[in-house]
Subunit: 404 residues, 2 copies
């Protein structure tokens, strides 16, 4: 099988988007999950003609006819049943949030009143009919959709859900994901490495990035042993929806993983993408539907493939609609190999409101210290070798980056 | 006390930034928290001369002198102790991630080799000395800072932390926050309102927005009763670092909160800001250090004040450094009142890489349905009334918005 392009790889990956179903949950716990139903208004919004200033409610016609003084017949707070006036020169002292009495149509705020001995006198000359009232149904009508399905539940969506009395929400189920690290050179974080060992770390990055989507991925480690590798993969194929592997997919003698995947019946959909970093990326599918993302072990490669392929697949599987993000290259850049290059960039916004991407090159795909100073990958087109300052290309902002 | 400007209000709020100390936690749990210490490399990074391709390790001088065939004297995987050659025509079959033997200096990948009967023959003419090696200490030196303090812990930081063997991280402690809703017109989410009641919802939005910072705020509700209000506020002043109130701070007869705050010894630092929405915003401080953010009850007002003041204060208290975000106004806009206007906008990126902010006006500060279709507030300068398409202003992107 020959190397695929990034475009082909994306197409193959996105052909495998899958609906994992829905589940109900208490609305407060749904933050960050994907809404799987439309939320409708249970009543008009606002549900009544809502007073928006503290002051008095009057009939405008009375003021228009020259009446500036109104007898206060009662005080109505938010939540109270409206107090009705029976006379043109009467008014109701009324609070923000209260329901406008049907016998009144205009509210005058305290700042424009003089109140003495139960009489409110208007101290301004201009009053507009219907002022300081947020009329019933002005924002939304009863049964109108207020929150559309297929959005990540945000604080504002939580608010709207509370307001319409929907304390349970239908959300998309999340795929069960396992992250497998492999290689005898990898030790645990709290262990002391020999001069030739390193600590496991890719698995933690992947797990952390998935937390943004509320996925709690499992992590397992397998040693460089053909039989154990096969058994563990066999087990994972029964228990998870997605297997993410990091490392063990290049041509090395001790890379048991591609063979184990094959033995377990995982069909290779591609191996190697015409890109840097992340060329040895392997992607496959078991006939029971389990997907296998086997990323190259270099940290920058894993991180790039995670964003460019897995998270894209995940978002589309969950029906999350995101727009592609673009930025202006802020410095000339040359890349000669016949590979699509994912350039690490720092993002800034200039005083024109334009997103600028400044290249920050590291020492290759093993240099994850370099990632720390950057915010995104800029995807440079394969057909070009020279990229000029001012040109606009797609960027892939890092998961949970909090630049602004 | 007269109304303050937005600029003055910001100054007063930021004069109250406070350090809540630090605490240690297991590194994996620190995602989203603020790192309070520099993380240093425990060893050089990479810790050894790291092979970056599967293939053979040779002495370049041998190839340079015309030798194309090398006898494989052993196979070295990642994690293995290096195998040393003793002769110019020898090589070590070597895997990605392995430590380069000190007797070799160049790696040739499988793709450029022909291996037969234990002899590897190079099939290309150009080999560069030191190729396919990521040299020790190239990225970072031992004891060099790899992650600086005062950053939100991201997946990449988690990775770096794991790599240098730091399984406990010192992070900033979070302030204890209570969110108080008030007003007899407010009922619970699962209750059925009378025609003049509405459900509590602001408190949930605030709580959800704080979750982004890993703060689990408490929520309490107090009825419209002067004595209960006083008692509850008294209690909260003993138990929390910050009290956020939503509603009950306008001039209304039933707004017991400003009085209760005063009685409890909370000093008013300002009341009313020259802004829309959110004019009645009240901010104060108890002499025990507790801060009180009393937001106006209209949902859009609460949401704006939360982003513009509280979250800004919180980020600075936690030492989170964020850059201001700017966008181009995408449509002419007029706003005449002598107030600083926070315009609700939708964000897009044009094909020039420029952030465009398109105004989406709702029906005032009670219309929170409108917030759902927007991504940010654009802060329009007080001194101006006309704002022209193409002008660039600061924006405040909504918490947990996932536009791109």
């Amino acid at each position: 099988m020959k190397m695929v392009t990034v475009e082909q790889a994306e197409k193959i990956v996105l052909a495998q988007i899958k609906d994992y179903g829905t589940e109900q949950m208490y609305f407060e716990n749904a933050l960050g999950r994907v809404l799987a139903e439309d939320v409708k208004a249970d009543r008009d919004l606002p549900p009544y003609d809502r007073v928006t200033m503290d002051g008095i409610a009057i009939q405008f016609e009375s003021f228009e006819k020259g009446n500036y003084s109104f007898k206060i017949i009662g005080t109505q707070a938010a939540g109270d049943t409206p107090i009705e006036i029976t006379n043109f020169d009467e008014c109701v002292e009324i609070m923000t949030g209260a329901a406008l009495p049907s016998t009144t149509d205009t509210v005058i705020r305290y700042e424009d009143l003089n109140i003495k001995d139960g009489i409110a006198t208007v101290t301004i000359n201009t009053v507009t009919k219907n002022q300081s009232i947020h009329f019933r149904g002005r924002d939304k009508k009863q049964n109108e959709v207020v929150v559309k399905a297929n959005q990540v539940v945000s604080p504002v969506i939580i608010q709207m859900t509370a307001a319409v009395g929907k304390d349970k929400l239908l959300v998309k189920k999340l795929p069960k994901v396992v992250i497998i690290s492999s290689g005898d050179e990898l030790i645990k974080v709290n262990e002391t490495p020999t001069p030739y060992q390193i600590r496991k770390s890719n698995n933690y990055t992947i797990k952390a990035a998935l937390q943004q989507y509320r996925i709690n991925a499992e992590m397992i480690h397998i040693p460089d042993d053909a039989e154990i590798t096969r058994k563990e993969i066999e087990k994972c194929l029964q228990q998870y929806d997605v297997i993410i592997l990091s490392g063990g997919v290049s041509e090395g003698k001790f890379d048991y993983i591609p063979k184990a995947l094959e033995t377990c019946g995982v069909e290779k959909l591609f191996h190697k993408v015409q890109q840097r970093p992340g060329k040895p990326f392997w992607f496959g599918k078991h006939n029971n539907g389990v997907l296998v993302y086997a990323f190259p072990g270099n940290p920058v490669s894993t991180f790039m493939c995670l964003h460019r392929y897995f998270l894209l697949w995940l978002e589309q599987s969950l029906n999350i609609v995101k727009e592609p993000m673009y930025a202006q290259l802020n410095k000339d850049f040359v890349f000669n190999p016949a590979l699509q290059y994912f350039l690490q960039v720092q993002l800034t916004i200039n005083n024109n409101g334009t997103l600028l991407a400044t290249p920050v090159e590291g020492n290759g795909s093993g240099d994850f210290a370099n990632l720390l100073g950057t915010d995104a990958f800029m995807e440079l087109p394969l057909e070009q070798n020279k990229f000029t300052k001012g040109e606009v290309y797609r960027i892939w902002q890092f998961s949970l980056a909090s630049k602004w």
